[in-house]
């Protein structure tokens, strides 16, 4: 991508069927994307100085599933992966995350996540997007992944298996990625479910300095070569688990590579 491109021109170049009001058939809004990615762009380039490696592994068009790790804190990594697809890909691509269900129940959060293409993580939504040749972003660790503490920031927790079944059913390539830096930006030492309950979210992370405001840690994301598995999605759990383990192992190795390449957090 040309760094001089304005966010508006990047959004204009997205290969999505926007109507003349600026909405695609899912309600994704050009106006909301420009606002969201203008803010994310600043965080991506200036604050977290994100380096994206292996972008050539992401298909420029057609269906694909970005599958990676949460690196701690909250879903900061997800937002920066979205930014890397919009800011660094040629042509720019909108990655569409599968959001936690509670986000759709939050005023403002619901509207913004949907207008920016981040829908509730339901199998029906995911399958439809892939059949429509969209780029899906999946974190198989789920909320347990974002709840990692600082000391666990480079580890992986259990993976769900639904993403592999979906990839098989829809004949979608999986593009594994390893993200490092989220846990340094939000060095969580404790997650409070009680405070989370009061705020309508699963938990609220706390850091040594109190609130989980992100520090300007350097982040790095490495995209690996696409992984393709043959099947229908109806295979036995054992077969699916084998594929999941292959993806998990690939992500673990990408995390290690990214960790070495990045050096220190600052």
């Amino acid at each position: 991508m040309a760094r001089g491109d304005s966010i508006r021109s990047l959004v204009d170049r997205l290969e999505l069927p926007f109507n003349e009001l600026g909405f695609d058939p899912y309600g994704i809004s050009k106006k909301h994307l420009v606002v969201a990615f203008s803010a994310l762009g600043l965080l991506y380039r200036r604050y977290f100085r994100v380096k994206a490696v292996g972008l050539e592994n992401v298909p420029p068009r057609g269906r694909g599933m970005l599958v990676g790790n949460h690196s701690g804190g909250y879903a900061l990594d997800g937002a920066l992966v979205l930014a890397s697809m919009m800011l660094e890909m040629e042509p720019p691509r909108l990655a569409q995350g599968m959001a936690e269900k509670f986000i759709n129940e939050l005023p403002v959060g619901s509207t913004w996540s949907y207008r920016c293409g981040q829908f509730t993580g339901l199998p029906e939504n995911a399958e439809r997007l892939l059949e429509d040749d969209r780029l899906l972003m999946v974190f198989p660790e789920g909320a347990k992944g974002t709840a990692k503490l600082y000391k666990e920031r480079f580890s992986l927790v259990d993976f769900g298996t639904g993403f592999v079944r979906l990839a098989l059913k829809t004949k979608t390539p999986i593009i594994p990625f390893g993200f490092v830096g989220g846990g340094d930006a939000v060095p969580t030492v404790y997650n409070s479910k009680t405070v989370g309950k009061l705020m309508g979210v699963p938990y609220v992370p706390f850091t040594p300095y109190g609130l989980a405001l992100p520090l300007p840690a350097k982040c790095e994301v490495h995209y690996g070569e696409p992984m393709r598995f043959e099947g229908t999605g109806n295979e036995d759990d054992q077969v699916i688990r084998g594929y999941v383990d292959q993806v998990k192992s690939r992500i673990a190795s990408l995390i290690e590579t990214a960790r070495e390449a990045r050096g220190g957090a600052l």
């Binding site: 909405f23 309600g27 759709n104 949907y114 207008r115 029906e124 439809r128």
Partner: protein, 307 residues
């Protein structure tokens, strides 16, 4: 073909009747509401579908196809009476059709069947069950009528049954749930939420129903419109003013200060979308809307603005 339209007094049903008549069909109408200036070549009977006289129309006129458009959708209508009409009326339509040799029944239901819920998929397909009933029990009678009609697919295999789940309509009649909602100059919105709404221009909706009658597909079909649009944009494009109100406040204000009198459960429909996938119906009938979403809104803006 001789076609009986039950509920012919409604604006959409009249359009369907005129389109079918123009296509060369013989049209008979049944409704307890009058259609004062109906064309002479359309025969209209003023009876309640649940009364004996209505069955006489089936018995004496022997329609080949019956189109059931007599369900009440207005959420402001009284709950018990609405339920009696929607469920009792649907039962009567099918009982009379089976008893008097009707070959095809088209039940015109609504896409609100699926319910608005935070946990629903964005696009609904015909195989999904209704959701959000707990939050909106007032929808129960429409859902029951839809399910009763769908049951006929296996209970009466000799009768071709088509169940349509039609999106909102906008057009010159200014009727229908969304059309009526937009009639007020100020339209309440739930602060922080902006659901997608899907709609068809009134003539397109009528064309969709005609396509179901003429192609006689058996089964359950979503009849979708062009691409859905967020409610706040619909409000703006039709020249209305959106008034975003916090959810706890909006519940207290409904029915006052010029805001529509909606049941509490309807708030969910102002928070979460009901969008349907219409691919199956398009494949079965070849139906596609002629008027796009932007043009439909522009036309409705002009209608609301008046001459």
């Amino acid at each position: 073909m001789r076609i009986l339209i039950v509920g012919i007094g409604g604006a959409l049903a009249r359009r369907v009747a005129l389109l079918l008549r123009d296509a060369g069909h013989e049209i008979i109408g049944l409704d307890r509401r009058p259609w004062w200036d109906h064309p002479k070549d359309i025969e209209v009977h003023e009876h309640d579908i649940r009364k004996r006289a209505a069955e006489d129309v089936f018995r004496t006129r022997h329609p080949e196809c019956v189109v059931h458009m007599a369900t009440v959708n207005a959420l402001s209508a009284g709950g018990e009476e609405r339920a009696r009409i929607n469920v009792g009326g649907t039962k009567a339509v099918f009982e009379h059709s089976v008893a008097h040799g009707v070959k095809h029944v088209v039940f015109v239901g609504r896409h609100t069947y699926y319910g608005a819920s935070a946990e629903s998929p964005l696009y609904h397909t015909e195989t999904e069950p209704p959701q959000g009933m707990g939050a909106f029990p007032e929808l129960a009678d429409l859902v029951a009528a839809d399910l009763y009609a769908a049951n006929m697919l296996w209970r009466e295999p000799g009768l071709a049954t088509t169940v349509l789940r039609l999106v909102y309509t906008l057009g010159a009649s200014q009727t229908g749930t969304l059309g009526s909602f937009l009639k007020a100059r100020r339209v309440p919105l739930v602060m922080g939420f902006d659901p997608l709404f899907q709609f068809l221009e009134e003539n397109d909706a009528a064309r969709g129903i005609v396509a179901a009658i003429e192609n006689r597909p058996r089964g359950i079909f979503n009849v979708s419109g062009p691409a859905p649009v967020p409610l706040s944009t619909i409000v703006r494009q039709t020249g209305r003013t959106g008034v975003p109100l916090p959810e706890p406040l909006i519940k207290r204000l409904l029915g006052r200060f010029g805001l529509p009198n909606l049941p509490g459960g309807a708030i969910e429909h102002l928070k979460y979308p009901i969008v349907v996938e219409g691919k199956v119906f398009a494949q079965a009938t070849g139906f596609a809307p002629e008027v796009g979403e932007v043009e439909t809104l522009e036309r409705y803006r002009r209608i609301l603005a008046g001459p």
